[in-house]
Symmetry: none
Subunit: 221 residues, 4 copies
DNA sequence: AATGAATGAGACTTCATTCAT
DNA sequence: TATGAATGAAGTCTCATTCAT
């Protein structure tokens, strides 16, 4: 039991996420996080070596919570169109959860800049996540062009870069929205529309687009 | 020598940009900014009411410095293809300058969270910048579809949203790059490639793409 | 060890009184008060919200410490002459203690001017103290005139005002005295002499003055 | 012309009096005093070596302005009763002016404590003023007892001390009064009443009290 | 003599971290 | 293991004073 009590650790991470999202990382006080978590300040330090370590863990936990990759994405036997639509659903499903905490991620940069150790851990993990996305995406695109479902002449690396850029860009802009602002581009449906448009550009002229419906599982996430 | 001495104000903003980019905003000390600017701490406070006010001014100044819209973009008599390529050049030209300071912008959100006044100023200005981009872009796309240069069936709002998302997404990811990382997607050329690909998808099947060469002027910016 | 640790709070107040009496309130540094109290600066702020709050508490504590009203003063069954002499003893007993810190009280006004909240607290408490004195004094004088021990024609409110003014005036002037200055008017004995003279003016012509000796208890206070 | 310009010096002293009375000495800023005086900060330092020197000069100037001794007080050929009443008028005439600035005097103690030089100048001058009062008063009382107008058995030094203490005490308490508080004891009339009562106690049983009417001159002061 | 922008020492206050209980 | 009072380094901001113009 090296992290002595998983439940308590979780409570602390949740409290940190909530407090940091409201006040910003630097403004968040360990006192308040402890209070919200219902533990004492000393206990915080039994689970996390420092405020910085707590933030890094909080940011990573937030990412993990919202990244749900549907099994269909990874199934090479499926039609690439189905796999791309499943990937869109995976991303759309996590979008609003991540967007809600995007400020948390932004704040992480403050820490990253002043601490080489945190920089390594945070950047490394984020790059790994992105790299995994990229790999997945390129393998689907490759399968698509080879099977003739997607246009053969597309530049896979450019399309993959654009795919990821579109998702990141929507996420980034979602952080600008005031709470009451209903701009539909920066919602889960906006993700479906934007990436759906991208997929349409990729299709060979003689194949129809396949649409999968959001399942209960993806809707939940 | 009246109080608003533009040179000294500029020196302070430049120093703040440099120091904040290195240390992060919260970690930056007013002492150090004053030292780098070559003025005393007291002088800082003659120009900016607080550290927070200095950050907001610094972020906005960084944006203004790098947003250069080429005249061709706004000339409605030109071929929409030319105008789109000019817009790409405008964005690509500013990309690396903005990317260099993108972390500063990310950090700004931390501060902005704890100050409604600063939040208003920063969000308002950024939204105004984006709104201008969006308007410009949609007007070009409209002209293109009406003149038949662009495919008539494209959904202008989706394409515009994707255009902006791609640019933002590339910018966002540029912040992840280690200094020595040579990933070519997150450079000015990456912007040209990604947005260029987007433009190609828009062209009516019977028109060729027009390419404009980077001029000396745009390369400088 | 709950937050309101009376011993530590007391140590801080004593230290503040000592430091402020020497350096003046504004010149006193929280650093030094903490040092003299033998606690850290942070602990100061666990007990008092600000330097200003510490001053107000210090001034009030100094007053409370030296205000000792002898029981005889309040006993309506005693001869009014005895009660007046007991009141003189109460005032004389506290005189030098208060005089020693009277400069602190004077300084308090400087602070009080810039803070309405502190002004209310300090003024209110001081007025309550004075009001109590006044009430006590007038009730004794009334009993005296009614019983015929004091001249029936005296104007009680004028005499009470003069009584209090004499005490305050001696206190005020005590603040002017250099440490080595032996002017006997501004000492406990000066208080006895001045107020004793006043009492003599009040006595009906056919009653002798009663003198009570300072007891060990009053001398201590 | 060693104080270079008497008018400007006066303007500065008036400004300092006004600003310090409102904000308290420590809170008063040289900036504001200069602004109120209509001169630059640099000019302040041409007339007064430091903020401390300015306060001392301000307090002394305020005292001088309000101390007006009627000629009758000093005329040894007059009936001592007339001279005492004239002294009461002198004190009553200056009372409200001084009371209005009593806080200024209180603030002086802050400075006095932290600066031996200021202490010497301020305490010395105030003691001289009081000493003069005391001398004057005792000489009148002596003349009165010798001429038989006052009771021969009075202890001149005790009576003089009480006289001064009453005046000081009333002044001190006047500082406690809220602006709207109408307590009549702490006004010019209160001074007349309190000291008038004292004089009555001194009169030989066979002489009536003499009352002088406030003249236009004393009412102005 | 007058100005006021610049200076920088110094004060208050905060808050991450520790450690005795 | 949990607690939370105590710590004290460090940061922002103020404002008396200076001095070049």
């Amino acid at each position: 039991m090296s992290p002595p009590n998983p439940t308590k650790r979780r409570r602390i991470l949740d409290a940190a996420r909530r407090v940091c999202s409201q006040s910003g990382y630097e403004a968040a006080r360990m006192d308040e996080i402890a209070h919200v978590a219902g533990v004492s300040k000393g206990t915080l330090y039994n689970f996390f070596a420092s405020k910085e370590a707590l933030l890094v863990a909080t940011v990573l936990a937030a990412h993990e919570d919202f990244v749900v990759v549907l099994p269909a994405v990874e199934d090479p036997t499926l039609d690439p169109r189905v796999r791309l639509e499943a990937l869109i659903e995976s991303l759309a499903g996590g979008f609003e959860g991540i967007a809600q905490h995007i400020l948390l991620t932004h704040q992480a940069w403050s820490v990253v800049l002043s601490s080489p150790a945190a920089r390594q851990e945070l950047l490394g993990t984020l790059r790994a996540i992105y790299s995994e996305y990229d790999k997945q995406l390129q393998s689907i695109l490759k399968a698509g062009t080879e099977s003739g479902v997607l246009r053969r002449e597309i530049d896979i690396s450019v399309v993959a870069a654009n795919w990821i850029a579109i998702y990141d860009g929507l996420l980034y802009r979602a952080g600008f929205q005031e709470d009451g602002d209903p701009n539909p581009s920066y919602t889960a449906d906006g993700v479906r529309r934007s990436l759906g448009w991208l997929v349409e550009q990729l299709l060979a002229s003689d194949v129809p687009r396949l649409k999968i419906e959001p399942t209960e599982e993806t809707a939940r996430a």
